[in-house]
């Protein structure tokens, strides 16, 4: 009777493990590739002054709209060509990484912290605190972000701080929603009631018991947000309420080049590719993290 069991296992094992090995490699690729791209871009941003061949804001009216090196008329002096003011596209893209990445990381840090604190407070304390915080969250989510960003840039004047503020003011709401749900679930778990029996204060429970257990979904949503924030910054810069010229950001580069797209496609295309790469890397890496860490989590 018992000897039947190993036979069944032997038949199925090679097939399953063969499939899973291939799936395993594919799965780790969705982690390695985006992570490499993102870290390369971060390194580029950090070492921009050493990497950029030219000054990104130096205008050269005699060398306007030069094509990239691989096209007719291009030269090795400007590998990705120049824009309508004769500025080097490669150097601007390298410096643009600084602004685009730092804006998105800063905004994510601010929104995630605020959202997590409010979400844990709402989820654990409950009652009126929760009702108040969650209605506040609903209101924030129903506000059109672009209108608010325009309003802020009118009041404060366009600039780095304005962009960060405009993206942060409403960006915390989805975090608060997610974390509140997780906190609600954890609040009713056995180890929290055990902590209460031990005499732990609500503050201690929120910091020591709830927070460490919401980190997984939090990290996943944060990685997913990298791409979104780059796009948002690009959008603001494109509309002219983002980073003011002449400082380069990927979004403002796309905006600057759109009038020349028929005769100088390289001005918009290269920063566009970079935006696409970051967004996709963020999404793939976030997806991978989600599968890896928490299969229960639903997409926001």
């Amino acid at each position: 009777m018992l000897s039947i069991m190993p036979n069944i296992e032997d038949k199925t094992r090679p097939k399953i493990s063969g499939l899973s090995r291939r799936a395993h490699i594919m799965r780790s690729l969705t982690c390695i590739v985006p992570l490499t791209i993102l870290s390369l871009l971060v390194l580029t941003a950090i070492f921009a002054p050493w990497l950029a061949p030219h000054d990104p804001i130096k205008v050269s009216m005699t060398e306007r709209r030069l094509p990239p090196v691989f096209m007719e008329g291009g030269s090795t002096k400007y590998i990705l060509g120049t824009d309508h003011l004769g500025r080097d596209v490669l150097s601007r893209a390298i410096y643009g990484a600084r602004i685009s990445l730092s804006v998105s990381l800063l905004v994510i840090a601010i929104t995630a912290s605020v959202g997590t604190i409010l979400g844990i407070a709402a989820g654990y304390i409950g009652g009126r605190t929760e009702a108040f915080l969650m209605r506040f969250t609903d209101i924030s989510m129903s506000f059109p972000p672009l209108v608010l960003a325009m309003l802020l840039s009118v009041i404060l004047g366009p600039g780095y701080i304005t962009v960060v503020l405009a993206l942060s003011v409403l960006g915390w709401a989805p975090y608060a929603r997610l974390i509140r749900g997780e906190a609600l679930r954890i609040r009713n778990s056995d180890f929290v009631s055990q902590a209460r029996v031990s005499g732990a204060s609500p503050m201690r429970i929120m910091i020591k018991h709830i927070f460490p257990n919401v980190i997984n979904p939090l990290i996943i949503v944060m990685t997913m947000a990298v791409g979104f924030m780059i796009l948002a910054e690009a959008g603001l810069s494109f509309l002219g309420i983002g980073i003011p010229p002449p400082d380069p950001s990927w979004g403002s580069m796309v905006a600057d080049g759109r009038g020349d797209i028929d005769r100088a496609w390289w001005i918009t295309t290269f920063p566009g590719i970079l935006i696409g790469m970051v967004v996709m890397s963020g999404n793939f890496f976030g997806d991978w993290l989600r599968d890896k860490m928490d299969p229960r989590l639903r997409q926001l």
């Binding site: 778990s189 056995d190 180890f191 009631s193 055990q194 902590a195 209460r196 029996v197 031990s198 005499g199 732990a200 204060s201 201690r204 020591k208 018991h209 460490p212 257990n213 980190i215």
Partner: protein, 327 residues
């Protein structure tokens, strides 16, 4: 007069059932409906019953995780609900600890064993890190775990080991009373005896009092000094463990005992028939009139569905049943 550590007097816990947008209350779930018990120092009281009988609600009330609808809990003669916040923090919380049923969910998966056991010490005492460290190692030794396991995470342990960790945490503050909510029911049968022996040894060593919540009569028989059988929020029989198992009076107690024993062929020859209860426990939202057990009772009489039985004392046992009315 015995040395009573905890006394529950006429405890009641009703949960409102609401309906509609306005949360109109349409009824009450009587989870615990007027139970009284005492726990003596160094002794064990077990609450036994099917799920839904109100055992866990009672345990939560004692741990102040649920607020009772009415009734008083006296801890060493003092009303627990009259304690101020600071009195609770110094006089009650540290002295009443608990071990929960499920060792897989009762520990924060993100904390090391060292910190799990140390939490009551960190929260309630002003010991230095070194003192806490040595106390944790001492506790690990007492529950039969080795000191080098202190830096592991809970998921690296088996169920029995986890329950040992839970016991160590409960003992950290030298409590007087430990509430054990189904302490072994989530464990393998082979591990149960070990944990029960551990709990018994610790009780003898530290003169601990236990309030045990259980549905398994074998566990109860081994550990308890007194037993209260609960049915639908009421205590139907309450007495010394030995006597209650030797001479069960209430039909429900007899059915429970019968269900927990293996029926051997020679028993059948002797004419001992197992008592098998039919149906399920009625809803506590709408308990049956008269004796709550009459819908399933093998010895049901006419009076049972009409009058609520009085509590009678027979020998050392308090029971709530019409069968013994004339005696």
């Amino acid at each position: 007069m015995a040395d009573v550590i905890l006394e529950g007097r006429d405890l009641k816990k009703y949960y409102p059932v609401t309906k509609g947008l306005l949360k109109r209350i349409i009824g009450w779930v009587r989870a615990v409906d007027g139970i009284s018990f005492t726990i003596e120092r160094g002794k064990t009281l077990s609450l036994v019953g099917e799920s839904g009988a109100g055992k866990t609600t009672t345990a939560k009330a004692v741990l102040l995780l649920e607020k009772l609808t009415s009734g008083t809990i006296l801890f060493e003669g003092k009303d627990v609900y009259r304690f101020s916040k600071s009195q609770l923090k110094t006089e009650y919380r540290p002295r009443v600890q608990s071990v929960q049923q499920n060792p897989w969910s009762s520990m924060n998966p993100r904390m090391r064993v060292r910190d799990i056991i140390a939490e009551p010490l960190v929260v309630n005492t002003k010991r230095t890190k070194g003192q806490i460290r040595s106390r944790v190692l001492e506790l690990l030794d007492q529950v039969g775990l080795s000191p080098n396991q202190a830096d592991y995470y809970p998921h690296e342990f088996s169920g029995g080991q986890r329950q040992r960790i839970a016991v160590a945490r409960a003992l950290a503050l030298n409590p007087s009373l430990v509430v054990l909510d189904e302490p072994v029911s989530a464990l393998d049968v082979s591990i149960r005896a070990q944990i029960m022996n551990l709990l018994k040894d610790l009780q003898d060593q530290y003169n601990l009092s236990y309030l045990v919540i259980a549905h398994n009569l074998a566990t109860v028989r081994f550990m308890s000094h007194s037993v209260a059988i609960m049915y639908l929020g009421e205590i139907v029989e309450y007495g010394e463990a030995e006597e209650l198992f030797e001479r069960p009076l209430h039909p429900y107690t007899r059915a429970l005992i019968s269900a927990s024993m293996l029926t051997l062929p020679e028993d059948e020859d002797k004419g001992v028939e197992p008592i098998i209860l039919s149906g399920e426990m009625p809803s506590p939202l709408n308990p049956p009139p008269g004796c709550r057990f009459h819908t399933r009772c093998p010895d049901v009489q006419d009076i049972c569905s009409k009058e609520v039985p009085e509590v009678r004392v027979i020998g050392q046992q308090r029971i709530k049943c019409h069968v013994y009315a004339e005696q």
